[in-house]
């Protein structure tokens, strides 16, 4: 597969390490959320057959974490964003 890195352009997916659903960005706050909320966050997956937003890490590249929107049936990639930007757009900061 080829991932069009927002900074570096097309790169072979072999340079990346896959993590999983991009919802892993939305980690609850451990001081307020309990076991059930963390359970939902860490374990439950939508696992769609179709468009999937997922985290890839450019380990053999610039070490950027990316959010890749990819179709799990065709493997077509329609969007690639820096995970940091996505995280900020979700209101994450420090």
């Amino acid at each position: 597969m080829i991932i069009h890195h927002p900074i570096l352009g097309p790169r072979d997916a072999q340079e990346f390490v896959y993590l999983g659903d991009a919802s892993l960005i939305e980690r609850p706050d451990g001081m307020t959320a309990g076991v059930e909320v963390f359970h939902e966050y860490l374990y439950q997956r939508t696992n769609p057959a179709g468009e999937h937003r997922e985290l890839w890490y450019h380990e053999q590249g610039d070490r950027s974490w990316l959010v890749v929107t990819r179709n799990t049936v065709t493997h077509e990639i329609t969007r690639v964003e820096l995970a940091r930007d996505v995280a900020r757009s979700k209101g994450r900061s420090k």
Partner: protein, 980 residues
């Protein structure tokens, strides 16, 4: 009798003679020959035996679709089983042997299977061999396994090298027949980066075979002209002997280039084959079409082949397969074979044309509405029996028969993304369907456009479309544009004999009928039940016929019956090629420590730790047992001082104004409160509350920390930290970089550790100036920058000292010589393990990805006062059970008693059953200090069992040892030594 069947013409170099042997018999051929063409030129038709019935077989094709003519090529470590003689390029000195026969190809004892074939109907084995139960492994299966298989593998190492590589292009053209050449010419002239790949050693495809003109030239000459032009273009890469094996995601194609297979052996330093990963902006599949036979009784005898192959042997290779030849066809292309052969002076005794009507061939006996119903000739064709339109049968003596049932477009690569081909009634064949690999278009015969004109035109158009070309395109040369005129004929209805569909796997029309009778009517069931299409040719010639037979039996149309799709690779690929250079010692790169060269001089024993080679121990003269060395290293360290290379531990530089706050989030314990110049043991959890990693992290400055990870987790911890930094807390001011290899780091441990270090460190490192858990920048040996950490994994007064890696070797030698008065020794990973287990420090065996801080006795380290990764989920009920596993120390009651890591805990007197399983030993060593085996283990409720006696049982080694459960801190539990 040399080359008795060689006739005039062909693209072989008759000025040179190549010698080769088949089954030990010497023959001659010419450059340009394949093994099959050369054997046929020598009158050899029998080249193999079938898989199941061991039927005598010759080649049916002249290409990679060949199911029959499989040989063991070469010998020794280079022996290649199942090599298709039809594509094996002849070279001087080639040796080949027939396979799957005993004692010889002509007299194969297993040929008895053919006589008993009625007992070996499709799937018979599913219905028998079940009694008595134990006989399957003992009797039936061993017999079946010995009989099965095709070629044999030598047990020797393959001596040849294989390479891999990466290519980039705007356009990949797969196949260099008329379609591919025209596409390439169009793109090449437009200046596009182009790769043209063809599996043959000569480009041109069917143009090398056909006798008609393209433009003003013979087709082959036109092709040669185009190849010459393309060769002159700097933007074009022509790759002969290169098979595109698969279409993978996003325009990545795999291709195998056979660099040296046409040579006796690869040239010095050169690989046998190269696996290329081609990154193609666009691709055109111009793979042509494969002729298919017709199933009729005994249609598998040597001498019966595809009509196009019969023609190819005559025209391209100058070989007549037989003296008296007939052609059996249902389409006009078969007719072409008769015409070309006759023009070559071959005696064409009959054309058996299943179609009715139309013009009769002049000068040839042309029987219309006729079919071949049987053949004779045990080891090679002697006659065919035909049924004429009027129903009369007749036997005709022939020694070769060309069969054409039409042509199947080579859609294979187009369906590698699971696109299903669709049936085209006009050509009675499957053509590419929808949803093929994005960026891949199909042209020419592969798309069902069979005439030469259509090939040239669709090739050109495909290139224009793929690349959005706007300039002038090359003119199309004049070429034949004749229709194929095929009237489907899949199998000849006649009698009770066997008519082969899949020749290698011996699948006959009868087998398909039986599958239908038993309701294995889905195309996938048909394939799996009969093994149709599962042979080395993957059904390139037979699949469609099997499908058509099933369609007739079920009364459904062929499209309704379905089709199987093709998967990579297009043709089988040597595993060596797929592995490239990653084999033997080169399987993974080595990582060498800064002390490696010193250790090698000392005769050290090394151990693989991931990709690292670490010193396991350093034997001294006279030491014959590893334990002698390890015990000595431990005792010498505890007595005076020992040095260990710990460079392999991961080191991560963490800077930024939020570095401390960041560490508080990623570690279970707190780091923001750590004073500058101090270090602290850190425990890192995964989000699921399981311990991820541990290590000491030092605060080198207000906004600067150095984190240490375990050797094993250095990469995964770094990745995790980047995840936390970028995805969870994107606005924290934290910068990370690995410095693992930048510093050579040595542990210096033992009562004389400080004394020794004082010989090299330029600053005051007294206990007052550099207390326990101190950390800081120092210099050594008169000003070399260094880092010093006062940390201990051994329980001794200990430091870790780091210098830039290039000075590591020198620092080690300097410490050994400057500190000689303390008799320093260098210890390896074994002694390291002994000392850490004596101290109850966790390492690999305990950090197993299944254990919590609580399990390790470190539960209190998980701070609840702050949010950190894993804190919440570490509190789940199943992970805080009172009777859960706890880390304990173990020693045998009898000091002579033995322990083994991985052994399990049982109570005294308890039966060795799972219900009594108390846990297991994670790590075990011999402690020279305590004079007995000691171990760490996870024991259920272990914290409440200290002082109790249990048994340690290893059921794999008949070990049953009474032990005492003790604190994991087995040596100097108060830690007086390390604070000394």
């Amino acid at each position: 009798m040399s080359q008795s069947h060689r006739i005039e013409g062909g693209q072989i170099d008759r000025t040179k003679t190549l010698r080769f042997t088949f089954d030990g018999v010497p023959y001659q051929g010419h450059p340009g020959d394949t093994l099959a063409s050369a054997l046929l030129a020598n009158g050899v038709r029998l080249m193999g035996r079938s898989f199941k019935y061991h039927r005598p077989r010759g080649p049916i094709s002249s290409g990679s679709e060949e199911p029959n003519a499989l040989v063991e090529l070469r010998s020794g470590g280079r022996q290649e089983p199942n090599t298709r003689a039809t594509v094996a390029e002849l070279y001087d000195g080639l040796t080949a042997n027939s396979q799957n026969r005993w004692p010889s190809l002509r007299f194969d004892a297993m040929g008895i299977n053919d006589k008993l074939s009625t007992f070996f109907a499709a799937g018979f084995y599913y219905k028998t061999f079940m009694w008595p139960k134990s006989f399957w492994e003992k009797l039936y299966e061993p017999i079946i396994r010995r009989a099965a298989g095709l070629g044999s593998v030598t047990r020797e190492e393959d001596p040849d090298a294989y390479d891999k590589g990466f290519l980039h292009c705007d356009l990949l053209v797969i196949g260099a027949g008329p379609t591919g050449l025209m596409a390439a010419l169009t793109a090449g002239r437009a200046g596009k980066r182009l790769i043209l790949a063809d599996e043959d050693f000569r480009m041109g495809g069917r143009l090398n075979v056909e006798t008609f003109a393209v433009g003003q030239a013979l087709g082959a000459d036109w092709a040669a002209g185009v190849v010459a032009e393309l060769t002159s273009l700097p933007n074009v890469r022509l790759m002969t002997r290169t098979t595109v094996i698969g279409a993978f995601d996003h325009g990545i194609y795999g291709a195998v280039e056979r660099v040296s297979d046409h040579l006796l052996a690869p040239a010095q330093g050169k690989p046998r084959q190269v696996l290329w990963r081609i990154y193609a902006g666009k691709a055109i599949l111009a793979a042509g079409a494969t002729e298919r036979p017709v199933a009729f009784e005994n249609n598998d005898r040597p001498g019966i082949m595809l009509a196009g192959a019969l023609r190819a042997y005559a025209t391209r290779w100058g070989v007549k397969v037989g003296e008296r030849v007939a052609v059996f066809t249902n389409n006009d292309d078969g007719i072409r074979t008769a015409i070309d052969l006759q023009a070559k002076g071959v005696d064409v005794v009959a054309v058996i044309d299943s179609r009715e009507g139309g013009a009769l061939l002049p000068g040839i006996r042309h029987l219309q509405g006729a079919e071949v119903i049987d053949t004779s000739g045990k080891l090679g064709l002697k006659s065919v029996t035909i049924r004429q339109a009027n129903g009369r049968s007749e036997t005709i003596a022939v020694d070769a028969l060309g069969v054409s049932g039409g042509w199947n477009p080579n859609v294979n690569i187009h369906s590698h993304h699971r696109s299903r081909p669709v049936y085209d009634d006009a050509i009675a064949a499957f053509v590419p369907g929808q949803d093929g690999p994005p960026g891949l278009s199909v042209a020419g015969a592969a798309a069902g456009a069979f005439s030469t004109h259509a090939a040239l035109k669709t090739g050109r158009d495909a290139a224009i479309a793929a690349l959005d070309l706007t300039g002038a395109a090359p003119d199309l040369p004049e070429a034949e544009d004749a229709p194929t005129r095929v009237t489907p004929l899949w199998f000849v209805h006649h009698g009770k004999g066997r008519a082969w569909i899949d020749q290698q796997n011996d699948v006959t029309v009868k087998d398909v009928k039986l599958a239908h009778q038993e309701n294995f009517t889905s195309v996938e069931h048909l394939k799996r039940y009969t093994t149709l299409g599962m042979a080395t040719d993957q059904g390139k010639t037979g699949n469609v016929i099997g499908l058509a037979v099933m369609a007739e039996l079920t009364g459904r149309s062929i499209p309704d019956t379905g089709t199987t799709i093709y998967r990579p690779p297009y043709t089988p690929v040597a595993l060596g090629t797929l592995a490239g250079r990653s084999r033997g010692k080169e399987f993974k790169p080595f990582r060498l420590t800064p002390s490696h060269h010193w250790a090698k001089e000392q005769g050290a024993i090394f151990v693989e730790v991931g990709n690292w080679l670490r010193t396991q121990w350093v034997p001294k003269t006279g030491e014959t047992e590893w334990r002698q060395s390890v015990d000595r290293e431990v005792l010498a360290t505890r007595k005076s001082v020992g040095i260990c290379d710990v460079t392999t531990l991961g080191k991560i530089d963490i800077q930024g104004t939020d570095a401390g706050a960041f560490l508080d989030r990623v570690y279970a314990n707190t780091f923001s409160s750590l004073a500058v110049g101090k270090c602290r043991y850190g425990l890192m959890l995964r989000e699921d509350g399981i311990v991820f990693d541990d290590g000491t992290t030092a605060r080198m400055g207000e906004n600067e920390y150095v984190m240490t990870t375990t050797t094993a987790n250095a990469v995964t911890v770094f990745r995790h930290l980047e995840f936390c930094r970028q995805c969870l807390w994107p606005d924290m001011d934290v910068q990370l970089i690995s410095t693992t290899e930048a510093w050579a780091q040595f542990s210096v441990a033992g009562p004389n550790a400080r004394n020794l270090l004082e010989k090299v460190v330029d600053q005051d490192i007294s206990d007052a100036a550099f207390p326990y858990m101190g950390a800081g920048n120092v210099t050594v040996c008169g000003g070399l920058r260094a880092r010093l950490f006062r940390i201990s994994f051994s329980g001794e007064l200990a430091y870790e000292i780091a210098v830039p890696t290039r000075y590591g070797d020198a620092l080690l030698r300097e410490m050994l010589s400057k500190g000689a008065e303390y008799d320093p020794i260098v210890y390896g990973t074994e002694a390291l393990g002994v000392m850490r287990i004596e101290k109850g420090h966790v390492a690999g065996g305990e950090l197993n990805g299944q254990s919590t801080a609580l399990n390790m006795g470190l539960g209190k380290m998980v701070s609840k006062k702050k949010d950190s990764i894993g804190m919440v989920l570490s509190q789940r009920e199943g992970m805080v059970q009172e009777n859960g596993y706890r880390l304990v120390g173990v020693k045998p009651v009898d000091p002579q008693g033995k322990l083994t890591a991985g052994s399990h805990f049982l109570e005294k007197g308890a039966a060795a059953v799972a219900a009594n399983d108390g846990g297991w030993l994670t790590s075990k060593v011999y402690s020279p200090h305590l004079g007995c085996d000691i171990a760490l283990g996870y024991l259920k409720g272990g914290d409440r069992k200290i002082g109790q006696r249990m048994r340690i049982v290893n059921l794999l080694g008949n070990l049953d040892t009474e032990v005492e459960i003790i604190s994991p801190h087995m040596f100097d539990p108060e830690g007086e030594r390390l604070r000394g």
